[in-house]
Structure formats: structure tokens, C-alpha cells
């Protein structure tokens, strides 16, 4: 980009290919070749450390507040950089402590901070006036002689800032004021590196003399005077001019030079030359300049690469008027304009939390499971039906995995008994009748981790055997609920069934099966639990007629408890019928049932309606439900993955995280889990083809029949009624057999 803008510029390549120099020029190539006899300076590049912005933020919040008055700050520059680095003026966290120490061997530079309260004020600030004000101060110090006593005034800077602490955007613009001669500075003797200009003896004498000068002062000496013979080198502070140079015949000045270019001095020389011209210009024709560079690499010090040259001092037109000045830094596009840095990632606590969470998860990948596909997990949208003991624990474990999208559906309010078992709620949430669980859970998740994208729906899920046809209002409410649930299931990738009744799981099971969404189901007994994934039906397009026949064949064989493996079920010797069931043939929560879901809360005591389970069970089952989901997601076939069974525990696991079981059944009394797998049941009241077919064709009309009817409707539809009659007949046979013994 910038190359296009500067196509007229001439590039010179230094020894190092890394250091490309651009001669900022509007002149053509030939003209700038002629201009090589004029001295050019490498301007400062501003360099800010992260700590500076942190400190500015603190100052703004605690000290400055709305105070816009100029503040004194301190930066530094260094003359020991390796070749290729830009000439920098650095501001770090210590910039606000003007009297504090400067890093060793670095030269302090004092500046003025103008921190505005608004972006408009930042824009409206008269930059030209700021520069002229600063230039005038430098000029005054030169004229008064104050600059001789304290030459650091020659190398000052201005920093204009605006800190947008809502967005953590920082606007800034540096200025390194330099007074200008009207004409260019003619080079009398081309720059050469020190070891070509001076003897080794002189160089070591120079180093010794500089260290002497350095020790006398309190810190680095930015400017100094120099006299040398074949054997000796003498240095003196700038203020000693009159006693040091008695004849003004040959004058050499040294400057602590942060530039690394072999043909150019850095910015600090500019104002020094103006000072020389102002005070001694009339007596001096040429000045020799030593750009003192002092580098230590791997413990060995070198000043040989310092640069020395001679220039002719131009006349200052009128020594009473402040010369023109320059110095505002160009931005990264090479234009005259401010810079902006967005630090939200390292300063916004919310962003920090997000990156820390992600980083912690990545550690798992880097160190333990290199093939772990975290993105798949993090980007999974999870719908949690039920925000009780299971829902709370599932949500927390999902957050642990960095899952961002978590949606809750629940119609209950938080009661006094909940907070001790449901880790997203507190005592306060129970007061005044209790908050809605779905919305309270969202609030708490956002408090725990602001990066979460969570929504709560306070709604009921219509259930079989729980009639909705009391009135037109209840019927249309049920219809809206169904539509909402259908919409939510469509919008999510994984549906968690975490309710406390069996029948409330029926509708989402049907909808999710129809929409081919992965379902993870967790249910608790007193000291037992089941965590399972529902079989994921093949999509209607990919399901071939023969495949359908196969599955119904194997299903019927399973349902009739036939001892001969049927159809496609692989018959490996020694393996059971239930090994290697592919995901699309796995059963759902209702497949093992021989009764349709109905009103299970009827005829129960209050005790039985509440969750009566060992308190640790929900945490175990909730965590397992999430871990099962993650394992499924890591499998290349996802929900279609072949079910792992307990027998697979010794085999090579199918994913980087291990097995992908169909079910985990836990028995807390024995502290034991088993991994059964079961086939889809062709008479299943929830996922059998006939139910799905009716749902897909008739929609709410079919569903409302289910809600409003007793068990028998679904049982008749699926053929369970017939099955019951058959099994009852068989039982009678069994009984009679028994009795006969």
C-alpha cells in the first residue's frame, strides 16, 4: 500500500537487507542523487509498551479524571540497537514517573502529554500550535543558554492522546519537535564508520573518555564536545565549549545517537546543529559530528560502528526569530495523522476472560490431545430442556468446555430447596415467589462468563396424557409452545433432555428425531442414572429403501427378543447382538419402553414428584452428558458413530477422547457404570417411523391427539397394544409352565 504512494521514493539498501530506507522525497531519482550531499536525519518512531497504556488508563481513572492540562512524562532512546531496528523513542509503564530511573544505558527524553477527554477534543486540538509552543521553548532555551547547561531540552517530545476506556481504543499522535534551517545542511565530509576514520587506539581512548564523562554525570550524556589527537581523546560537556575549544579551528561534537543507519544521524542531532549555528555559527564554518553508538552483543562491547562526518553549518536567517519547526509523526500508512491502537483484547476484562478460557482449553490440545477439535465443541449450540439439577450441572460443564451458545427452557420458578442442589441459583433467587429458572440461569451464566451467548425461555413443554384442550386458549398456547420448541430445536445443534418427568421428554424426542438433531438425554433415579444419546436417524434423502427394510428387520428381531441375529447385524463370533450398532440404528429413551408415556405425576405422593436422588448423582450425570456430547462431536461420524460398549474398553478407542457409547448407566450404590447399547424399536412411541411419519404429515393435529389422549392412542398407533396382548399371552404360558413344576 505504502509502496504505491511512495513510488517516487528512492530506496537505499543498507548492509542488512532488513533495514530498508526510504528517502522521503518528492524529487525525482536524479535530483535526490544530487541531494546526497545534504544531511538527512532518521526520525524517531514512537514505541509504546503495553504497560504504558495500562498506566495511562490508571492515571486517567484515578488521577487525571477530567483534567486535560498538560502532564510531564518521560521516554527514552537507546544507541545500542542492532542494525535493522527503527530509531525509537520508547515509553513504558514508568513514563509517568519522571523522576524515576531510566533503563541502563538509555537516554531519557522528557515530553508533554496532552490527554483529551473526547475524541472531538483530540481532533480539534491545534497541533500546529502545540508544536510551535514546544519549538519556542526549545528556541528560548537555546538563546538563553539554558540548553547548554541542560542539553536534554533539545530532545523533547509531545504526545497527544485520547483514551476511549469503554472500547479500550487509544488514539495517539507523537511529535518530536525539530527546529529547521531555511536551507539544507551540506555534507562536507561523507559519513564513515569510526574504525575507518579513527585508529584503534583513538577508538579505545574515546570509549574510555566517554565512560569517564558518563561516570561524572548522573546518566547518559546526550551531547558532548570532543577533541582528539593521534593518541588522545578528550570529551567535555556541552556547556564547557568556551574553555574546551580555544580556537574554534576544528570543532567536533558528539551526539548519543539512536540511529543504526551508517549514512544518517538520528533525530537528536537536529536541534543541536541549530544550537551550534545560533551560538557559534558566525565563528564556525564546518563542524565535525560524531554519532556515538555503543552496542554490546553477547557481552562484547563495540563503538566502532559509530559514524563520523563533517557538515557546513547553514546560517540562521534571523537569530532573534524562532525558526520553523517540524516533527509530527506519520502514521503507519505514512500519512500525517494519528494512530489508533485497539487494546480491548489485552485490557477488556471480558475479552481477557474469553481468551483465558480458550487458552486453557487449548492447553489440553497442545499437551494431551493434539487432534482435539475444539472449534467443533466451542461452536456447538446447545439447547437445555430443563434448568433444574441436571440443567445447572450440564450448563456448568458446557461452560468448562468453552461452549458459547447455551439456551434454557424451563417453566418452573426457583424454590427454597433448589439452590443447594442447583448450582446456578442462590437464596436470593427464591424470594418473592422465586425467579423463573430459565431467565435466572441465563443471568448467572452471564455473570460467570460474560462471553457466553445465553437465552432463557420460560415455557412449558406439552406432554402426552396432559390434555391441552380445556379451552381454545390452552390449545393455542400449546400450539405456540410446540412451534417455539420446534424453532428452538431447529436453531440448535444438540438437544439435552434434562427434565424431571419421562413424558415431557416425548415431544422434544419426536421433534429432534424428525429434524435429525443430536439428542443427549440424562435421567436420574435415587441412586441410578442413565445418560444416553438418541439414535440419529439417517436423513430422508440418504436413506435407501433397503436400509429402511434392514433396520426394521433388526428392530423387530430385537423387540421380539429373538435369539438369532437378524439382517445386517454383524455376527462376529463371541460378540453380542448389541455390538457395533451404527448411530442411525440406536434407540431413543422410549425405545426400551413397552408403555407409552402418560401422566406419571398422577397418583404420586409429593415426595415422589420431587427429585429424590442422591445429591451427587445430578453432578455426575450432568457432567457425563456433556462429556458424552464432546466425545460424539470428536467422532468423525458424529451422531452416526457406532456405539461403543463396555467390551470396547480394552480396544483402540474410536476418538481422541475415547469411547462413544450409546448409554451410560450408573449405579451409585456400587460406584459402577456400564455402557449398554440398544437398537431402535420399530414400535417406539417416540422415534418409530410411524410416529415420525404422523408428526411430519399432521403436525400439531397429531400432537394434540397425543397430548389429549391416554396411553392407548400411541400404543395403538405403534402396535404396542398388540404386543402387550401377545406378551400377556406369553406370560400366561410361562405362569402355567411354572405352576406345573
Amino acid at each position: 500500500m505504502s509502496h504505491d504512494q511512495h513510488h517516487q521514493e528512492v530506496r537505499i539498501y543498507e548492509q542488512s537487507a532488513a533495514s530498508k530506507i526510504v528517502m522521503a522525497s518528492n524529487t525525482s531519482g536524479t535530483e535526490s542523487a544530487a541531494a546526497e550531499l545534504k544531511l538527512q536525519f532518521a526520525p524517531f518512531s514512537s514505541a509504546l509498551e503495553a504497560g504504558f497504556w495500562h498506566q495511562l488508563t490508571q492515571k486517567k481513572l484515578n488521577d487525571y479524571r477530567l483534567d486535560e492540562s498538560p502532564k510531564c512524562i518521560k521516554g527514552y532512546y537507546y544507541n545500542g540497537d542492532p542494525v535493522g531496528l527503527p530509531t525509537r523513542l520508547t515509553l513504558e509503564y514508568s513514563a509517568f514517573d519522571v523522576d524515576g530511573p531510566t533503563p541502563a544505558r538509555c537516554c531519557p527524553a522528557v515530553g508533554t502529554l496532552y490527554n483529551t477527554n473526547t475524541l472531538d477534543a483530540f481532533k480539534a486540538t491545534d497541533k500546529k500550535a502545540l508544536l510551535e509552543k514546544e519549538a519556542k521553548e526549545i528556541w528560548d532555551a537555546i538563546q538563553s543558554g539554558a540548553a547548554l547547561k541542560d542539553p536534554s531540552v533539545l530532545c523533547r517530545f509531545i504526545l497527544l492522546t485520547f483514551a476511549d476506556l469503554k472500547k479500550y481504543h487509544f488514539y495517539y499522535w507523537f511529535c518530536f519537535p525539530a527546529l529547521c534551517f531555511l536551507e539544507g545542511i551540506k555534507i562536507v565530509q561523507q559519513p564513515s564508520v569510526l574504525d575507518q576514520a579513527l585508529s584503534a587506539k583513538q577508538i579505545s581512548a574515546l570509549q574510555e573518555a566517554y565512560d569517564g564523562l558518563f561516570k561524572k554525570g548522573t546518566g547518559v550524556v546526550p551531547y558532548f564536545l570532543m577533541k582528539y589527537t593521534d593518541d588522545t581523546v578528550h570529551l567535555a560537556p556541552l556547556g564547557d565549549w568556551d574553555t574546551f575549544f580555544t580556537d574554534n579551528k576544528k570543532v567536533t561534537v558528539g551526539v548519543y545517537d539512536p540511529c543504526t543507519l551508517s549514512q544518517h544521524p538520528g533525530w537528536p542531532l537536529r536541534n543541536l546543529l541549530v544550537l551550534l549555528a545560533n551560538r557559534w555559527g558566525s565563528k564556525l564554518d564546518t563542524v565535525e559530528v560524531l554519532c556515538f553508538r555503543d552496542r554490546t552483543l553477547q557481552g562484547s562491547r563495540s563503538i566502532q560502528h559509530s559514524v563520523i562526518f563533517q557538515v557546513k553549518l547553514p546560517n540562521l536567517s534571523d537569530s532573534s526569530v524562532c525558526p520553523k519547526s517540524v516533527g509530527w509523526e506519520k502514521n503507519s500508512k505514512g500519512a500525517m495523522g494519528p494512530r489508533m491502537v485497539n487494546l480491548s483484547e489485552c485490557m477488556d476484562p471480558k475479552r481477557l476472560a474469553e481468551s483465558s478460557v480458550d487458552l486453557n482449553l487449548k492447553l489440553m490440545r497442545w499437551r494431551l490431545v493434539p487432534s482435539l477439535d475444539l472449534d467443533k465443541v466451542v461452536n456447538t449450540k446447545c439447547l437445555l430442556l430443563g434448568a433444574g439439577t441436571l440443567g445447572c450441572n450440564v450448563a456448568r460443564t458446557l461452560m468448562g468446555w468453552g461452549v458459547r451458545h447455551i439456551t434454557f427452557v424451563d417453566n418452573a420458578k426457583i424454590s427454597y430447596s433448589n439452590p443447594v442442589r442447583q448450582p446456578l441459583y442462590e437464596f436470593e433467587d427464591c424470594l418473592g415467589g422465586g425467579k423463573s429458572k430459565a431467565t435466572a440461569a441465563v443471568d448467572r451464566l452471564t455473570k460467570i462468563f460474560p462471553g457466553v451467548i445465553s437465552e432463557g425461555y420460560n415455557m412449558s413443554i406439552p406432554m402426552p396424557g396432559h390434555p391441552v384442550n380445556f379451552s381454545q386458549a390452552t390449545l393455542s398456547q400449546a400450539q405456540r409452545d410446540v412451534e417455539q420448541l420446534e424453532k428452538l430445536i431447529s436453531e440448535h445443534d444438540v438437544v439435552f433432555l434434562l427434565m424431571d418427568t419421562r413424558e415431557s421428554r416425548w415431544l422434544p424426542t419426536v421433534i429432534a428425531a424428525s429434524k435429525r438433531k443430536l439428542v443427549v438425554n440424562a435421567a436420574l433415579g435415587f441412586d441410578t442414572f442413565v445418560v444416553m444419546r438418541h439414535g440419529l436417524k439417517k436423513s430422508p434423502i440418504s436413506e435407501s429403501p433397503s436400509g429402511g427394510a434392514e433396520s426394521s428387520a433388526s428392530c423387530s428381531s430385537a423387540s421380539s427378543s429373538s435369539s438369532t441375529p437378524a439382517g445386517s447385524a454383524p455376527s462376529i463370533p463371541g460378540s453380542s447382538l448389541f455390538s457395533n450398532i451404527p448411530g442411525h440404528k440406536l434407540g431413543c429413551y422410549f425405545c426400551n419402553d413397552v408403555v407409552a408415556p402418560g401422566d406419571s405425576t398422577r397418583d404420586r405422593t409429593l415426595d415422589q414428584q420431587c427429585t429424590v436422588s442422591r445429591p451427587g448423582l445430578a453432578m455426575i450425570a450432568g457432567a457425563l452428558a456433556v462429556e458424552m456430547m464432546v466425545s460424539i462431536l470428536q467422532h468423525c461420524e458424529g451422531g452416526y458413530a457406532v456405539a461403543s460398549s463396555s467390551d470396547d474398553r480394552m480396544n483402540e478407542p474410536p476418538t481422541s477422547l475415547g469411547l462413544v457409547p450409546h448409554q451410560i448407566r450408573g449405579f451409585l450404590s456400587r460406584f459402577d457404570n456400564v455402557l449398554p447399547a440398544s437398537l431402535a424399536f420399530d414400535k417406539c412411541t417416540a422415534c418409530s417411523p410411524i410416529v415420525l411419519d404422523h408428526y411430519e404429515r399432521e403436525g400439531f393435529d397429531f400432537l394434540s391427539k397425543v397430548f389429549n389422549s391416554s396411553h392407548s392412542f400411541l400404543e395403538d398407533l405403534t402396535g404396542l397394544t398388540l404386543l402387550h396382548q401377545e406378551t400377556q399371552a406369553a406370560e400366561i404360558w410361562d405362569m402355567s409352565d411354572d405352576e406345573s413344576i
Partner: protein
């Protein structure tokens, strides 16, 4: 074995020795005291010209072999993209107003034809970028070991993400790092500054220091725990410790 862990007193002593050597070698470690406490940390900053490889960390093992010599033209680094976006923002949203009121005096001189001279030479930012590395050595009471904190920022003061930091490490070296026991890098708040830093986790420090310390003890050789440790973990994050720290003196 007691000498495998570090107590605070020894830590400070080791740091002091390291500082003396640093001073003599012209290295730039310094001790930063923390106000109103005896605590403090060693600090060093370094600048580096690097080419950012923006690919995610996990991809590096597979692809590092196909990369040629260092800094072969890896294009499209995230960092630079960001910078460009940001400056573009200024240019479009605010730039016009701000740009208008001051002029590039050095160049204006040229336009005015005062004397047709340009007085500025400018470093051109090529495909590589200057990064500021900041290293802190702190003492961890819970691990009784030194801990290396670091962050890397651009010249604008924007800290790099860990991916970007990894991207700045030579691909060949990255491969070694992946298998090294020191690369437990996490993001953590600096315990003394409260700012976000990366940290080399000290959970295995004792493990890899033990044989060294034991050998030194067997041979009756004095060992600067902090220096020895630093020479092992430093290179992981681009912090080289000169051999002269142990050979020169």
C-alpha cells in the same frame, strides 16, 4: 531433597548475582521493586524484527517442514492486517479532519521549492515487524520456583495473542518446543501488576531442575538456580541467555 526448591531469600540472591553479571555483560536485566513491599521482579525488554506466521499453533508440526529458510515470504499475517484495519479506520473516520490542520513541514519545504531538500530519511516497514518482548522473572511461593512471565507487543503497545507469539517463532524451533517439557504456556494476570501476561507454567520446573542441582551438589559446584533455569526456559520464548553468563566469570 531440599535443594531442589527455591526459597525467596535464595531467589533474591540469585537475582542479584544475575544482575551483576548482566551489568558486566551489558545485558539489560533490571530489578523492579514493588511499592510498599519487599517483593519485586527481574525485568528485561528486547526488540526483534520478526515475520509473523499466522497459522494456528496446531498446524505447525505438519507444515513446518515445507517451509524453507527462515522468514521465507509468509504472507498475510494477522497482526499486520489488524494494524492496517486500525489505521484504515482512522484514515476514513477521523483522518480527514485531523490530517487537514497540520502539514508535513519537511515535505512542504520541498513543494514550496524553498531549496528542494528533503531532510528526513525513513525506515520502511517491509514484510517484517518490530516486536517488543518483555520478560519478567517472579518468584512463585506455591511452586517455590522462579516463573517466567512474558508478553509481546507491537510498537503501538498492542499485546499479541499467543497464536501470534507462536507465529513469530522460527518454524523449525516451534517443532522442538511442542515436544519440550517447558511449553506449558498459559495466560495469567501478572501477580504484581494485575495485567495480562503469558506465563510458562512452573509445574514441571522442579522435575527438570532436580538432576541439574543434584549433579552440581555432587560435584560441589555452585549453581545459580535462576540463571540455570533461565537458560533452559528462556529460549522457549525467544529469550536467549548468553553463554558468557557462565563462562566469563
Amino acid at each position: 531433597m531440599s535443594s531442589c526448591v527455591l526459597d525467596k531469600e535464595t531467589f533474591r540472591h540469585c537475582c542479584q548475582l544475575l544482575l551483576q553479571l548482566s551489568e558486566q555483560l551489558g545485558d539489560c536485566w533490571c530489578w523492579v521493586p514493588v511499592q510498599d513491599s519487599q517483593d519485586g521482579y527481574l525485568r528485561k525488554t528486547a526488540l526483534r524484527l520478526v515475520t509473523i506466521d499466522s497459522r494456528p499453533f496446531g498446524d505447525q508440526a505438519e507444515s513446518s517442514s515445507e517451509l524453507g529458510p527462515h522468514n521465507s515470504c509468509l504472507s498475510g499475517p494477522d497482526v499486520q492486517q489488524n494494524d492496517q484495519d486500525q489505521s484504515a479506520l482512522i484514515g476514513s473516520a477521523n483522518g480527514d479532519i485531523i490530517r487537514g490542520d497540520i502539514e508535513d513541514q519537511d515535505n512542504k519545504d520541498n513543494r514550496d521549492g524553498d531549496d528542494g531538500e528533503d531532510r528526513i530519511c525513513r525506515m520502511c516497514e517491509g514484510s517484517s515487524q518490530v516486536l517488543q518482548y518483555e520478560y519478567h522473572i517472579l518468584f512463585s511461593c506455591s511452586y517455590r520456583a522462579p516463573v517466567l512471565y512474558f508478553r509481546v507487543c507491537t510498537l503501538e503497545g498492542r499485546s499479541l495473542s499467543l497464536e501470534e507469539v507462536w507465529g513469530s517463532i522460527h518454524p523449525n524451533f516451534r517443532l522442538c518446543l511442542q515436544t519440550s517439557p517447558f511449553t506449558m504456556v498459559t495466560q495469567q494476570e501478572h501477580p504484581l501488576l494485575g495485567q495480562a501476561f503469558f506465563m510458562l507454567h512452573p509445574c514441571r520446573t522442579e522435575d527438570f531442575m532436580r538432576p541439574l542441582l543434584q549433579a552440581a551438589q555432587d560435584q560441589n559446584r555452585p549453581v545459580n538456580y535462576v540463571l540455570t533455569w533461565l537458560s533452559m526456559v528462556g529460549p522457549v520464548v525467544g529469550l536467549d541467555v548468553s553463554l558468557k553468563y557462565s563462562t566469563q566469570f
